[in-house]
């Protein structure tokens, strides 16, 4: 099952023009799924443009864009089964959508409504804004699956900057010691806000850090959706069934994998920063030549899976899905103010009841408009 690649060898299936690289193994994905993969990436790109625009218009709060990172998110999420879980950072809107989280839910959250984080049965953890904290949650959940007997894999997304945090070390160390069914997926997009990758770690690769924890590290072209799908599928299979220890896995076969997906964020860290301050346009243009969407499109056209007509139809359906999601999110009735006292605990404490009642008395006396001034 396990291939145990050298973490310095970058797995790549498609070249920059969408051709299959010599000697590369193309993953076994049916045509409908390939079309779906392409559509999810187009949807993510369009959603991202619209979300940034909504923020600029004052219709949404701070938003972290994902353009350039669609292949890493869609390719990895499509490699999961229904029972698997994902533990996102704050940028994995496309991965969450693949898991079944509606775009309207994602928009509601970023518009300031925590109810957007409560998708039923999608097995998606809420966004984690402090860096790397979700890695421990994934490890803990994967570890607990031993007890419940759940046959699931637990995939955790984080960035290159997160590998500098203590929680990264503790999470991966626990995962190795207890051999948990986890996949640690590092979206190395080269920049942690303004600090470049080489200022996060002196390691030649981030993937090689896995060796210190006793499991496999894999380096992949994160802007190649087929390569991402392949390495994630392998990692998920290994998490669920590590197989016997072999020559390539000295001592014992291990479940966890660290995947480092090399990629680039085309836009800002969030709508609150201006990347032109810390990186130059030439660099951005160089990475845009690796844009995952035209690469996959060229591959699918070459294989006769897509043509002008189907590409246009996908473009139209994507625009209409995003427009409906924005409409649905903006039409959602705002939560009653006193609901902010709910969900602090399983049941409101007496103190919280009193504080909620106090707010209601103020609203009755003065009205919302007066209170918001």
């Amino acid at each position: 099952m396990s291939t145990h690649r050298d973490p310095r060898d970058r797995v790549q299936v498609l070249d920059e023009d969408g051709g299959v690289r010599e000697g590369a193994t193309v993953p076994d994905i049916d045509e409908d799924s390939l079309t779906e993969m392409y559509r999810e990436m187009r949807l993510a790109r369009h959603f991202d443009r619209r979300a940034v625009s909504l923020q600029r218009q004052g219709r949404m709060g701070t938003y972290p864009p994902l353009s350039g990172q669609e292949a890493a998110q869609v390719g990895s999420a499509m490699a999961l089964a229904d029972e698997d879980w994902i533990f996102p950072s704050y940028r994995e809107h496309a991965a969450a959508h693949v898991r079944g989280v509606g775009l309207d839910s994602t928009l509601r959250y970023w518009m300031g409504d925590e109810r957007g984080n409560d998708p039923d049965d999608a097995n998606v953890f809420p966004v984690a804004v402090p860096i790397a904290t979700q890695i421990l949650h994934a490890t803990g959940a994967a570890w607990a699956a031993d007890l419940t007997g759940d046959d699931a894999a637990f995939l955790c997304y984080f960035g290159d900057g997160a590998t500098s945090e203590g929680d990264f070390h503790e999470g991966l160390n626990f995962a190795g010691v207890f051999d948990v069914p986890a996949v640690f997926f590092c979206n190395n997009n080269q920049w942690a806000i303004s600090v470049p990758r080489e200022r996060q770690s002196a390691s030649a690769t981030l993937a090689q850090k896995a060796h210190a924890y006793g499991f496999e590290g894999v380096l992949v072209d994160g802007m190649d959706p087929l390569a991402v799908y392949q390495v994630t599928s392998d990692a998920v299979s290994k998490a669920k069934d590590p197989g016997p220890a072999g020559d390539d896995a000295p001592g014992r076969a291990t479940r966890p994998t660290l995947i480092e997906a090399i990629q680039y964020r085309f836009g800002a860290h969030t709508t609150a920063d201006d990347p032109s301050v810390y990186r130059d346009d030439d660099e951005v243009e160089r990475w845009k030549r690796k844009d995952p969407i035209p690469r996959l499109e060229a591959y699918l056209r070459e294989r006769g899976i897509l043509d002008d007509e189907s590409v246009d139809a996908i473009g139209e359906s994507v625009e209409s899905e995003v427009a409906s999601a924005i409409d649905a999110a903006e039409r959602t009735e705002r939560p009653a103010p006193a609901e902010m006292f709910d969900h602090v605990h399983a049941e409101r404490t007496e103190r919280l009841d009193e504080q909620a009642a106090h707010l209601e008395r103020l609203r009755e006396r003065y009205g919302d408009e007066e209170l918001l001034e």
Partner: protein, 333 residues
């Protein structure tokens, strides 16, 4: 647990340490999703011997030794709780809470809220507090005011063997994160403990441990027992009512206010540092609701705003005890 309540129950005599272990054992038996994680909780039985032989009884799947990583323990417990299990984490000394604080205040405490209410967070965190062992300042802290401050967390701090069992079981059965603060100097203290496996103490319910008329002493942890001894020594002279709040958050304000309305005088005795803490919160609530019943300024007994000295004589000097409670009573009666 108040004497009158205890008389209703079948009990046996045991130490606080044994009562906590019995609570853990019963809950491991009661619910297969319950498991213990922590440092040296397994074959070693816990550095203060609380988990004892549970590892032999339940095996390494249910009593799990972890690498040394407090954030790892709390973070792993948080992830596990959100996906359907009921971890009981041990932080060896409450002084190590700081190492795990991001996972406690931003993750465990907020997970239910961040999830829009769609997840439970049934984590219990057991940890030891308090000076008196000559263990120096980084093993002797009393930090429960800190945890009681963050929304989303609950905190209990038993002062008797019965409360230790009832609160530990209630914490494990709770769908909220609950910290159980065990004062290490009372592990050997004995008391009557109900044997009913369904016995729990509701979180947020104080106990009147001794009824009195002249002054109310709200004491926590070790100071419950010391306050009861003081009350006994003053009997016939001053009639002292002793309340163990048992839960720090949520706090049973009603029981305290009712008592103060009766006695008109109050002493709050808690081992945490005196500034910005548990004493202040209890006193603020009492004066909000019983100000016009007060006949004297409320007194507080606690640790000065310094660290626990390594030197035994200095440590004894700094630690609040029965004499300090008695002096405080004398100042206002």
């Amino acid at each position: 647990m108040a004497q009158a309540e205890l008389e209703q129950e079948q009990t046996e005599t045991m130490t606080v340490r044994e009562s906590i272990r019995q609570a853990l054992r019963e809950e491991l038996e009661h619910d297969e999703d319950v498991y213990i994680i922590g440092e040296d909780v397994g074959a070693f039985g816990g550095v203060l011997e609380v988990t004892g032989n549970l590892y032999e009884e339940f095996g390494e799947e249910r009593v799990r030794d972890t690498p040394i990583a407090e954030a790892g323990i709390i973070g792993a417990a948080t992830g596990a709780a959100a996906t359907g299990t009921r971890p009981v984490a041990e932080l060896m000394f409450s002084d190590f809470t700081g190492v795990a604080m991001e996972q406690i205040m931003n993750q465990m405490a907020k997970m239910r809220y961040m999830f829009g209410g769609k997840t439970d967070m049934p984590v219990t965190v057991r940890t030891t507090e308090g000076g008196g062992m000559g263990a120096a300042s980084q093993h002797s802290g009393t930090i429960h005011s800190w945890i009681s401050h963050f929304p989303g967390l609950k905190a209990v701090a038993p002062g008797t063997a019965a409360a230790a069992k009832g609160l530990t079981k209630a914490a494990i059965r709770s769908d909220d994160p609950v910290f159980v603060f065990e004062n290490k100097m009372i592990y050997e203290q004995q008391g009557e403990v109900p044997t009913d496996v369904e016995y729990t103490i509701p979180i947020g319910e104080a106990a009147v441990e001794r009824e009195g008329e002249d002054v109310t002493v709200v004491g926590t942890q070790r100071l419950v027992g010391e306050a009861l001894d003081v009350a006994e020594s003053l009997s016939g002279d001053v009639s002292v009512e002793v309340i163990d709040p048992r839960s720090l958050y949520p706090l049973d304000t009603d029981t305290i206010v009712e008592s103060v309305k009766k006695t008109g005088r109050m002493v709050v005795a808690d081992e945490s540092p005196l500034s910005y803490g548990t004493h202040a919160e209890i006193i603020a609530r009492a004066q909000e609701e019983a100000f016009f019943s007060l006949d004297a300024p409320i007194q507080r007994v606690g640790t000065p705003d310094t660290h626990m000295p390594f030197s035994t004589p200095l440590e004894q000097e700094v630690l609040p005890g029965g004499e300090d409670v008695k002096d405080a009573i004398r100042r206002i009666t």
